[in-house]
Amino acid sequence: MTAPPDDCLARNEWICGAYLSTRRQILLDAVVQHLQLTFLSVLIGLAVALPLAVLARRWAWAAGPVLAVTTILYTIPSLAMFSLLLPLYGLSATLVVAGLVLYSLTLLVRNILAGLRAVPEETRQAARGLGYGPVRLLLTVELPLALPAATAGLRIATVSAVSLVTVGAIVGFGGLGNLIYAGMNTYFKAQVLTASVLCVLIAVAADLLLLGVQRLITPWTRPARGRARRPWKAPGSASRPWAAAGPAPRPWKARR
């Protein structure tokens, strides 16, 4: 008989270095799955939201129904959304991606539309005066000017997606959520805490990455040096840095 090992795994401690070293591969696989699910769903969401927003901008009558439908989709709780998609996709990663796409639609459509609507009329007229056709106007004037608002929406959508992927554990495709789910059933504290912390780290990293990309592609929105940045920009305005302290937080947007 060998005595049971007396390490942090055996003692079921919250923070455990041995867990990190022995389960490295499992953690890595879960992170990769988490990233894949998030990336795919946000990308598809963007591909669907962009034409919807452009259509809603072009034809005013389309804006109401498009916003109403995406808002209703956003109101449905995530677990219910995944469950409703079960007959269509079965227990698959597609189900999780489809559910997340439907969620990101609301945030993305609303933000892109707000960005397009915020393009000053004079700017559009000036472009038309220079002989720009509707397509060229959209691609080279309106969309670039809508970029700050669109990336603000993209960041919120991405952070939300990272957090919602965990619920995919119910169908076995939840990235780090799978580890949390398994850890819950086996009362494995180190696994639950490690996976949760990694989730938050992914969300923060994705947000900072998108913020950096936004700064790069929209240099004109960079604030003048020495002036305080405005924190927490809501959809329709420029940027929302992570933990910037400042005087003017923006409210959570009503879901409509």
Binding site: S83, M184, V192, C199, V200, A244, A254
Partner: protein, 223 residues
Amino acid sequence: MNTLTAAWDWLTDPAHWSGDDGIRRRLLQHLGLTVVCLLLSCLIALPVALVLGHLGRGGALAVNISNVGRAVPTFAVLVLLLLTPVGRWGEGPTVVALVLFAIPPLLTNAYVGMREVDRGVVRAARGMGMTGRQLLFHVELPLSFPLLLNGVRIAAVQLVATATIAALAGGGGLGRIITAGFNLASTPMVVAGALLVAVFALVVEGVFEIAERLAPAWARSGR
């Protein structure tokens, strides 16, 4: 279509409505959790937000708390709480997680509502000799009410969603029908549970929509 009719049959079967795992009990649990936690989180968040907003302090807190609220997965917090001593008190983890996730929208919106009150109006009120308390209750609170109410609405919808996920971590509520359906590999049951949850969430949203329309003009959101 077959699944939908099967789900409908499951829903309309009277046997599924009664009993400890019945729809009626789960519905009441879900409603109870939502209402109790909404009240609790309002009691915690609103006074803090109103005082901070009145004093004009703590903007950073309002910003950070809403960012954190978005980035931390609900499911992770539920499971973490379940594994702490809180997990031993039955619905403890659910209630704590629900309250935690309802606080950010409440706090941020009430704070922003207070700060967005026209400074001219505040200065006029001060000039009339209003005390801080009068200013808070007779000027700032009424003017920030639409945004505050909006925060309550967002928090309520969020609570319904979080209460559903709580079923994954053993909490009560309508989500239990979904998890039970998954455990029994019964797609009609999963879909039936999901329909109940979706309708519940939409009804909550609808109730607030109606409340906002019926509210007196000053309390209506002008945004």
